[in-house]
Subunit: 203 residues, 2 copies
């Protein structure tokens, strides 16, 4: 069997690839991206004190853009090839892969990074990332974006250093404006915002 | 027909109510709340320069809490009876009704209010509220919470004075922290944040 396979290796390769293309489009994307177009991707990255952004949706991409603006080194990871390709065209430093995978985190040099941002939507994925990132770098500062207050407690429990809930941040932004319009003095505003954060459980 | 109806008005009333209870539970809740338990609700409210909060979900309730804390007068409106009852128990100043309804806005004294906050999820509902609120008070300051960037443009087009997108606010909160850690000076941070807001289309 083996000699036959070797003799026809090109044909066999083509039929395997066409099978994958037809039935496993995800794997085909991966092969195209990681093997066909970018053979040495795993040896390229050398960074230090950088920010690792897991998930490049709205929050991830806003943060990536702001880091580019300030020349702060970062690398983003996303498992959606469409998002990765689009972001690359805009100049983002992004790799295609699953951020819950410790090898991908290792490749993003989490051991040398200072901050990791969890901007993937699922809490279970965030939990895996914290677990794997801490294996590679005990002291990395973990920022987690959560949707619910219960997720916030959970993420703090498993070691996130900062937890951000978008709706709460939006409220604070509106509240600060209303306080200013009502001419509350600055110290009073700072104190009230602190009290709200404590009530919300993030301070 | 009419005399028969009048003669049996109690029985008719009971059957109508039992029909409503069975087939239109929403209307039943409304009748219970507005007619049975609180006959004079519409005459009670007298406010000036207050904040009207439409929708008392996460954002609405965070804002309500912060206004209570600063003794800034406000009235919230929500069409979910469960939310209204729960909020009332916590001391919120909230009424049950549909904030897209001009009569409810009128009852909340939008004509005397200084700010109206649109924290209902649907864009179409937000559009109706802006339209009706402006009929009652041309100069009211309208703050809209949106989900997508396209909604942001639309809400600005139809006259919202301030548009807040939670994911963008959460990103700004994270970005400010990273900038501070990287020891960017204050002026530089303010300028970069301003540039990000302009890019995002909210400044």
């Amino acid at each position: 069997m083996t000699p036959v396979f070797i003799k026809n290796k090109d044909r066999s390769y083509r039929s395997i690839r066409s099978f994958i293309k037809k039935y496993l489009p995800f794997l085909e994307d991966f092969i195209n991206y990681r093997i066909d177009t970018n053979k040495s991707l795993l040896d390229e990255l050398t960074m230090k004190n950088h920010v690792v952004i897991c998930g490049y949706g709205r929050i991830g991409s806003y943060i990536g853009r702001s880091l580019m603006m300030a020349d702060i080194p970062y690398v983003a990871i996303d498992y959606n090839l469409f998002i990765v390709e689009k972001a690359k065209k805009k100049g983002a430093n992004i790799i295609y892969g699953d951020p819950t995978d410790i090898d991908i985190l290792d490749y993003a040099q989490v051991d040398e990074a200072s901050i990791i941002i969890l901007a993937v939507p699922e809490r279970s994925a965030q939990e895996s990332i914290v677990f794997n990132a801490r294996k590679l770098n005990r002291d990395i500062f973990v920022i987690s974006r959560v949707h619910r207050q219960s997720d916030q407690v959970r993420m703090k429990d498993i070691g996130a250093n900062l937890v951000v809930q978008p709706e709460f941040e939006a409220s604070l932004s509106i509240i600060k404006k209303i306080y200013l319009w009502h001419k509350l003095d600055k110290e009073d505003i700072v104190n009230k915002i602190r009290r709200l954060k404590i009530e919300h459980g993030i301070s």
